[in-house]
Amino acid sequence: MISAIYGLALGVGANRIIKGAKIEHVLGDPKMGSEKDRAYSLNLVRIALKTLEQEVTEPTLYDPYEFLKTEKKEVSDAA
């Protein structure tokens, strides 16, 4: 579940929650300009899908930036 009001999602017990951008534009940011915005939005969706591959036992909140950092670290560690 991708939501900008992720605190509410946690409170009612959604199980995999990804922090969205803003209430009015959950999956992107028009201020970024089209190209950057599309890349950002694609990344959000990609990360959201990635969380479906993670085993969870309780409502879990994912921060897309933290997720990216971990991914990058894994890549550099592997290299």
Binding site: R16, E24, V45, R46
Partner: protein, 348 residues
């Protein structure tokens, strides 16, 4: 005055004294008079009536052959003509609880009063709690007092006595609000409650909040590149012009739209309709609320197996929990039918 109450009792194979789990496929039978816990009913009725018979069915038999079982029950009802059906108590047993609820609902449909009992978290309550008089029960030791309460209540159902509210009678609330008159006016009750709260004393709210169900997290998807993903939104996606009249708040249903063959949600063809946020931005770029363009791109890169060709939408503002449960169940049923592995749900 004798035989005012003609009570038919429903039991599963265990309480019907047929056997345990090994007899779960035991077919439905009718026996004259009371069996097992039915003796309590018989005693409670005294000269006011009697247990005209007992229906016993294996737990599996009933749930696996529900239509047939209900036909068999109909034949008994038509022949024996009871005016009260008592089912259970089923305690925490899921199949038994569902069967008790089904039997009672069927009897009610035929104009026969019905009362059942099971634990408050039995699936029978969750599925049918709003339609039935269900008396909660914890353990087997409470069988006698619970059946006595049910009979006192059931007798009044049949004979036309006054039926009180859930908390007075002891049955589980059915979600029905009955107007009534309180002893004190509202502001006084509210202030009294606040004072109690500040003093740390116990108080009872007049507007209980129904909490959403705890849902067990779905298992992780093993291989996303082979998974079928569905898109759902509570951000209120509508085709332009809102052809099927989706509401922008208080939803009581979900809407399905085909996205088959589309590479993205084209602006101008879709809109956002939701009374909880400023919708213009999402109307200009509907892929902000349903990420079709993004997921189709990931699909073309083999990062996702496939995208379910239907998107489910509603505006999740002010939604009542009871409606939300029904809506969620409805969507889940469609997803299961379509062998969907995972869902991306966008909420504001």
């Amino acid at each position: 005055m004798s035989e005012n109450i003609r009570c038919l009792h429903y039991l599963n194979q265990f309480f019907g004294q047929v056997g345990g789990e090994e007899e779960a496929n035991f077919p439905l039978v009718f026996k004259e008079g009371s069996v097992g816990p039915g003796a309590v009913i018989e005693r409670t009725l005294g000269s006011e009536g009697k247990v005209v018979g007992t229906i016993i069915s294996g737990d599996n038999y009933f749930v696996e052959n529900k239509d047939l079982a209900l036909k068999e029950i109909e034949a008994v009802l038509d022949r024996i003509k009871p005016n009260l059906v008592i089912a259970g108590p089923a305690f925490g047993a899921g199949r038994y609880g569902l069967a008790c609820a089904d039997v009672c609902r069927f009897a009610q449909k035929k104009g026969i009063s019905a009362v059942t009992s099971m634990s408050a978290d039995n699936p029978g309550v969750i599925e049918h709690g709003r339609e039935l008089f269900i008396f909660p029960i914890d353990g087997v030791t409470s069988t006698k007092p619970t059946l006595e309460k049910m009979m006192d209540f059931g007798k009044r159902l049949v004979l036309g006595g006054t039926i009180g509210r859930a908390k007075e009678e002891g049955y589980l609330p059915r979600g029905i609000r009955v107007p009534g008159k309180a002893k004190e006016v509202g502001y006084k009750r509210a202030v009294d409650m606040l004072v109690k709260k500040l003093r740390g004393e116990s108080f009872k709210t007049e507007i209980p909040v129904i909490l959403p169900d705890k849902v067990k997290p779905a298992k992780a998807i093993k291989d996303l590149s082979k998974a079928k993903i569905a898109l759902i939104t509570t951000c209120g996606l509508i085709p332009k012009g809102n052809p099927d009249g989706q509401v922008s708040r208080d939803p009581d249903r979900f809407h399905s739209y085909s996205i088959d063959g589309m590479a993205e949600l084209e602006s101008g063809k879709w809109e956002a309709f939701h009374s909880g946020y400023f919708c213009d931005i999402a109307t200009n770029e509907p892929n902000y609320i349903v990420p079709l363009r993004q997921i189709k791109l990931l699909e073309s890169q083999d990062k996702v197996g496939s995208v379910h060709p239907t998107v489910y939408s509603l505006a999740g503002v002010n939604g009542a929990v009871a409606n939300a449960i029904e809506i969620g169940r409805g969507i889940a049923t469609e997803l299961k039918k379509a062998d969907v592995d995972g869902v991306l749900l966008t909420a504001a």
